[in-house]
């Protein structure tokens, strides 16, 4: 079953937070690097949530959505939210090289977000490698994949499986514990990031790779978004400065687990924010309901990025 048949992506709270962080960061990078002329490439599915944000937040007009599923492709054509979106039918590993061969696209920066269905595997890793080595200067690349533990084999096989997929960046001492349900998203996020840096450094791509996004998040399954900037030589300092700033939120150390909440709960908690101290569980209970500690932390940190809750409760 194609994923668009099961979920409206805009309604998963952690995914929304993740998307919010990404576009907030992309906006800062785009201003610093002057990327208004860039091309947005992604998997818009039938909802185009990320495309709407690319258009609104980044002021990008020209956008390309790749869709492999034939029904999905027809529905995407039908649902595309802006005239300037082109929906391309096919698999990204075929379509991205075709796009690169078109002169007009080759000369402009790309913001590419491959928001995959499914777990990391050899094919996705190959595609990452290709993109890192071929994206035009000043491009930004992002990848999202599932970190659900069973897709990486049984517990005893998982460290080996991860090493099969990502190669020599994976330390020989990677443990079963690093790959359990709780830790796997963070482990995959770090190791995939290491993989991305290594490909660029080992192949001496001018300008290098700036690690920018590392976001493990959890709705009903663990997910990971990683990505970074492939700056032109001259732009690298400006881009590095954005990421080095203490306000940069793209590198997330604790898995985002935004709780699904009712409108009433959201309104009650939001009325307490922003506040400098940590919102405590005792306070939430005082307010008349309850949440787990990590849910409260996620809410306080990321409430600005939560989706429109009216949609969730409907």
């Amino acid at each position: 079953m194609a994923s668009f048949d099961s979920i409206n992506y805009s309604l998963r709270p952690s995914k929304s937070v993740q998307r919010g962080i990404v576009f907030h960061g992309l906006k800062a990078l785009s201003d610093a690097m002057a990327l208004q002329n860039s091309l947005y490439i992604g998997f818009g599915s039938i909802w185009f949530t990320d495309f709407v944000m690319a258009h609104k937040a980044l002021e990008i007009d020209e956008m390309i959505s790749i869709e492999a599923n034939d029904v999905g492709f027809r529905r995407a054509e039908f649902n595309k939210v802006y005239r300037s979106i082109s929906v391309v039918e096919g698999r990204s590993e075929d379509k991205l090289p075709e796009l690169l061969n078109q002169g007009e696209y080759q000369a402009r920066p790309w913001i590419v977000w491959l928001d995959y269905d499914g777990a990391l595997d050899e094919e996705k890793v190959e595609e990452m490698r290709w993109l890192l080595l071929n994206a035009p200067p000043n491009s930004i690349v992002l990848f999202t994949f599932s970190a659900t533990q069973n897709a990486y084999g049984k517990p005893a096989q998982r460290p080996g499986r991860v090493a099969d997929i990502l190669g020599p960046v994976v330390p020989d001492e990677l443990s079963r514990e690093d790959c359990n349900q709780e830790n796997l998203p963070q482990t995959l996020a770090s190791l995939t990031m290491d993989f991305l840096s290594s490909v660029v450094a080992d192949n001496a791509r001018p300008g290098g790779f700036i690690r920018s996004f590392k976001i493990p998040y959890f709705d009903s399954v663990g997910m990971v978004t990683v990505g970074g900037v492939l700056p032109a030589l001259g732009t690298a300092p400006a881009a590095r400065a954005v990421i080095a700033d203490h306000k940069w939120q793209g590198i997330v150390d604790e898995m985002i687990q935004a709780p699904p909440m009712t409108l009433k709960e959201v309104a009650t908690l939001q009325a307490e924010l922003p506040c400098l101290e940590d919102l405590t569980r005792a306070r939430v209970q005082e307010l008349g309901f309850d949440l787990l500690e990590h849910q409260i932390r996620s809410f306080q940190r990321y409430y600005k990025y939560l989706p429109n809750f009216a949609e969730i409760v409907s």
Partner: protein, 455 residues
Amino acid sequence: MIPGDKSKASANPTKAFFVRMITRDITLEDCIFDLIDNSIDGAWELAGGRPMSLADDTDLSAYKISIEIKPDRFSIHDNCGGISLDDAANYAFTFGRKDDAETENFSIGVYGIGMKRAVFKIGSKIGIKSTFTDNGGLMSFRVPVDVNAWLAAGDGNWDFDIEGADNLAAPGVQIDVTDLNEAAAQSFESPRFIQDLRRAIARDYALHLHRGLTIEVEGKSINGWAIELRQGGEFSPMRASFEENIEGEKVYVEVLAGMEAIPPEDSDPDGDWDEDQNRSGWYVVCNGRIVLAADKTTLTGWGTESWPIWHPQYTGFMGLIIFSSRRADLLPLTTTKRSVDATSQLYRRYRPNMREPSKAWIAYTNARRQRERDEVVGQEQEAKSVPIYEVAAQPAVVLPQVATKKRVPEANVLYSVPKPRLLKLATAMGNIRMPYKEVGLQSFEYAYADLVGED
């Protein structure tokens, strides 16, 4: 007539030769190893400086080498005794060892170039600091090198300044390099480079790490390879020792060889067992340092003198030849410590000792293909891994006597399927990493039981 002013052909070296040219012939990793080698030479000398034979039990657990690798900075720090002021003034910084230089006993260093070449390869602002014991007290100095200024000063004056410095925590050396060269900076940004460096340290310094030496990269200390050969049942590795006398100096040689891993069932180069193949082959050790690892080339004999070139079928074989001598210059080391000098007389003289166990193994793997798989594997599994230090002396490798039996003719089935589908089937069979061949066999058995039933 040659005019007077043309009667000499100028042959003075240039600084650029050392900074820009000879640094091309060595990898960054091997440069870092040159610095590790120097620390180890210091430690080995302090710990007694004996021949580095397998049986030697010198304890190195007091010594520690720490390496830090950042995108803009490299440093290595040891507590291995330091460089004395006399040594610094007279020869540690000269390019090429002077003939009258006192050599450390059983050292890895021999040519007098490693440290200089290493830091030049890494970057252009260098600080070398040493703390050493002098008449019972501690004394320190530092040698700052600004490579560009040194080059710009011309080829007249080659000396570096020695300055006073604070003491390090313990006698030892600390080398810091900043203003990294571009290639070094790029490698240091690659987590792959750092992981591979760790792996190479674990392998090439296995004999030192086994004796308790600590080597840390980015704060994480490295566990050495456990080098093991299989022994038991009808298998027994060889272990033989020899002594040579060259220029009045003793050279000790040990040869070990045998089965390191059970050979693969499958010799398809696209198979999924390259990992084991990586350990197979010959290892050459000089004064404790593995300078050639898992070699499968003509350097260790494969493909020379009627000895076949390496084939994946030979996977599982491991041989080590271990040289040690008080005078490292007698050993077949290259200046990069990454290979052997194949023209070395000593090395050539021992090639036949390497050839015998290799040939025995080749014959065994040829014969085992003619036999029943279960029987062969059963025999091989009786042999258990034993650390090389515990292998008993034995002049030649012992392998099962293979009497070729008649067996049922076999059919080889070969087919390709999309990898994602294979992984799905392997997962359903209970192991996402199941070897492809195993998936094939199980599928066959499954279909056979279903469609044919009992034999």
